[in-house]
Amino acid sequence: MEIPALAQYERALQFRAQRNEVLSSNIANADTPNYKARDLDFGQALKSARQSSISMTTTSDLHTQAWGMTKQGAQTLYRVPTQPTLDGNSVSMDVEQAQFAENALQYRASLAFLDGSIRTLRMAIKGGE
């Protein structure tokens, strides 16, 4: 059973885990000839989530909708290389490391949000104790 309050964080975590895999593949293949660096687009994943996620009832135009990530994985795209290389490898180590660190931080953030939601639910169950 999926608890709606937790589902969006769970999907965000899934996206971050998937992106972690893709970025680590880039770093692992930094010395492989003809390897092309890849990445996932968070904006695009969020956009597709907006179209397919369940909507809340709003009573005013000023209310915002809550969006969660979709279950299906985001599309893998090739990164635009910043510098030409002799061996056809498009991994730029500084870019990849920065993105990897950012992604790990975002994963921890999603984890903290999920943890907070679990605590809130537990507090509600126990009646505020």
């Binding site: 680590s24 593949s25 770093i27 692992a28 990897f100």
Partner: protein, 137 residues
């Protein structure tokens, strides 16, 4: 859980880099070898890396590193005229290996950096997984 694939990916890359390091060590160790027979002289060896993604859960974007083989360098041997050398051929020539010491040192540094990057990657992912395990405590 997708994060476990990172261990396979980084593990394959660390394996590839350690093979590269071994080959570099053998090249540097033989950097001074000479022979009277051009077929017997040591030639610099280099590993060939390629990427593979079939066995890793079939997910797009997840790719490890594989070593396709170790090839001998095609660089020309150095011919030296040393008639007093015990290995010299009939013309008094010996053939020195085609190991380029500078190139090998650069290879060694590159392999060591890449190896460290992969270790860091595993550490970060391990931290993330451990944090996930302690969720809701």
């Amino acid at each position: 859980m997708g994060l476990f694939n990172v261990f396979d990916v980084a593990g394959s890359a660390m394996n590839a880099q350690s093979v590269r390091m071994n080959v570099t060590a053998s090249n540097l160790a033989n950097a001074g070898s000479v022979s009277g027979d051009p077929d017997k002289v040591y030639r610099a060896k280099h590993p060939v890396f390629s990427t593979f993604s079939q066995s890793l859960a079939g997910q797009s974007g997840v790719a490890g590193v594989r070593i396709d083989g170790i090839v001998d360098s095609a660089a020309p041997l150095q011919l030296r005229y040393q008639p007093d050398h015990p290995e010299a051929d009939a013309d008094g020539n010996v053939y020195a290996t085609n190991v380029n010491t500078v190139e090998e040192m650069v290879n060694m540094m590159s392999a060591s950096r890449s190896y460290k990057n992969n270790v860091e990657m595993i550490n970060t992912t391990k931290d993330l997984l451990l944090q996930t395990l302690s969720l809701g405590r």
